[in-house]
């Protein structure tokens, strides 16, 4: 709206990071966005598949971050 034109929607970038030490393996992120998150076969700990997912996945990734029981998903919406 009153932001500079550099923040056009189609160029919005989201950087995702995960904290594997904090992760408790609840698996919510994998259920919500399997394109971005997986779990290690031998320990259930989160594996980040895509650190900069496309815009269509941003809402689901944000939901995954907000419902993560150990707050192990960090988002930087500006990249």
């Amino acid at each position: 709206m009153d932001r500079a034109p550099t923040a056009r929607k189609e160029e919005t970038i989201m950087k995702v990071a995960v904290d594997r030490d904090r992760c408790c393996g609840a698996g919510q992120c994998v259920l919500l966005v399997p394109q971005v998150f997986d779990q290690g076969e031998d320990d259930g700990v989160v594996v980040l598949l895509d650190p900069s997912p496309g815009g269509a996945l941003h809402a689901a990734v944000a939901e995954a971050a907000s419902v993560c029981p150990t707050a192990a998903i960090h988002l930087d919406p500006h990249g």
């Binding site: 904090r22 408790c24 393996g25 609840a26 698996g27 919510q28 994998v30 259920l31 399997p34 997986d38 779990q39 290690g40 076969e41 031998d42 320990d43 259930g44 700990v45 944000a62 939901e63 907000s66 419902v67 029981p69 150990t70 707050a71």
Partner: protein, 403 residues
């Protein structure tokens, strides 16, 4: 409120599907409230979302409820499930807990649980078909809610179908707060341990595809990570944690969705709402049970107050889930609510290990009911539903339904 002395806890609400009136009052006026437990001991009850989240996420609030001055949760000596859990790795903190959790956790990854889903749906479908064959009306708790999670856990542990009923009884007894006497609890624990040791031996001789066989293989690899006692504790933990909780939630979910039938109709019209609807009934649950106790080994700040070391706090996730500060229109059920960061499974490093499985069971049951019994309705007025009393996990005794 505090001048009137500690309140008796757990609270009782007037209407079976409504939260106790204390929740809102305490959130507003007394977010760290003195309470008296069934044992007679005193503790502090937390009812605000932020406070509950903070305490459950902070390892300095320990699970050492066996400390000499910790409040005893139950009226009997063993302390039920909290007494059992606090002795094992599952209940401990730090690295040992994390190691245990990651060993067992691999059985509960989202992918593994999703792979179980067709079997869970088939079990739910069979139970619903049996219920239909016996005819309308029926009790959904006895016919579906209680059997399904035991079937699923027995499947997970490789326990034969014929022993499911015994598992259900042991689970019920070991979770007791006041309903069973200490003798019955001890006897159930002993019987379970005896059965399970024999089952471990049988699985060791003839391993299957189940989680138990996998755990035994890890023990036998003798890498010192997991002892046989821990395998036993893990089996017991999975049973008590995975049975009663999910079983009760199936009955409560049906009751909540049918109490206002427009909810049920909305789900019939749009089954894509099943996933968020399951999260919302978990959040909305007015009978979630006791809550999560924690013991303080040092002075700590909560909600602007300093709680002294030696305090036992009880986190009411149910009250926190109705906190207007965290959820818009918290007292309204919104089947499409997103995101829904409710605390029904706890939060932090000890949050429910089996939550992906629980979610899958609840989603599968709901889908099967919507598909096979779209005309389902409560056979009694919602106000006539009766709560189960005296157990740590809240639920409804029966949910009479017709179709």
């Amino acid at each position: 409120m505090s001048e009137s002395g500690p309140q008796e806890y757990p609270f009782r609400s007037q209407a079976p599907l409504e939260p106790p009136e204390q929740w809102e009052r305490l959130r507003q006026e007394c977010p760290v409230a003195p309470i008296r437990l069934a044992s007679g001991d005193q503790a502090l009850l937390l009812t605000r979302y932020e406070d509950v989240r903070q305490v459950l996420s902070d390892p300095r609030f320990t699970r050492r409820l066996d400390a000499e001055d910790a409040a005893r949760v139950t009226a009997n000596a063993s302390g039920g499930v909290f007494g059992v859990a606090s002795g094992g790795l599952a209940g401990g903190g730090g690295e040992a807990h994390q190691q245990w959790r990651r060993l067992v956790g691999r059985a509960f990854t989202a992918k593994r649980v999703l792979a179980m889903r067709p079997r869970v749906e088939a079990m739910a479908g069979r139970l619903v078909a049996d219920m239909v064959e016996r005819g309308s009306p029926a009790d959904l708790v006895a016919g579906l809610g209680f059997p399904l999670p035991v079937w699923v856990i027995c499947d997970l542990l490789g326990v034969p179908d014929a022993d499911r009923d015994r598992f259900a009884y042991w689970s019920d007894t070991m979770l007791s707060m006041t309903r069973y006497g200490q003798e019955q609890i001890d006897a159930a624990q002993e019987e379970f341990a005896g059965y399970f040791r024999a089952h471990i031996a049988a699985r060791r001789a003839d391993p299957g595809e189940d989680l138990l066989s996998e755990l035994i293989a890890i023990v036998d690899a003798a890498d010192g990570r997991l002892t046989e006692t821990v395998v036993l504790g893990t089996g017991q933990g999975l049973l008590v944690a995975g049975h009663e909780t999910t079983a009760n939630m199936i009955g409560k979910m049906a009751a909540m969705l049918l109490a206002d039938r427009s909810r049920w109709e909305r789900l019939c019209a749009d089954p894509s709402l099943v996933r968020p609807a399951v999260e919302e009934v978990l959040r909305f649950d007015a009978n979630p049970g006791f809550g999560m106790p924690r013991y303080l080994t040092e002075d700590l700040q909560v909600g602007g107050r300093t709680l002294p070391r030696g305090s036992t706090v009880v986190c009411s996730m149910g009250a926190a889930n109705r906190d207007e500060g965290a959820f818009e229109h918290a007292d309204a059920m919104d089947l499409g609510r997103t995101p829904n960061a409710h605390l029904a499974f706890g939060v932090g490093p000890h949050s429910c290990l089996g939550q992906a499985l629980a979610r899958t069971e609840l989603q599968a049951v709901l889908e099967v009911l919507l598909r096979d019994l779209p005309t389902l309705e409560l056979a009694v007025p919602p106000g006539a539903l009766a709560r189960r009393e005296g157990l740590l996990v809240g639920g409804l005794r029966q949910v009479p339904v017709s179709w």
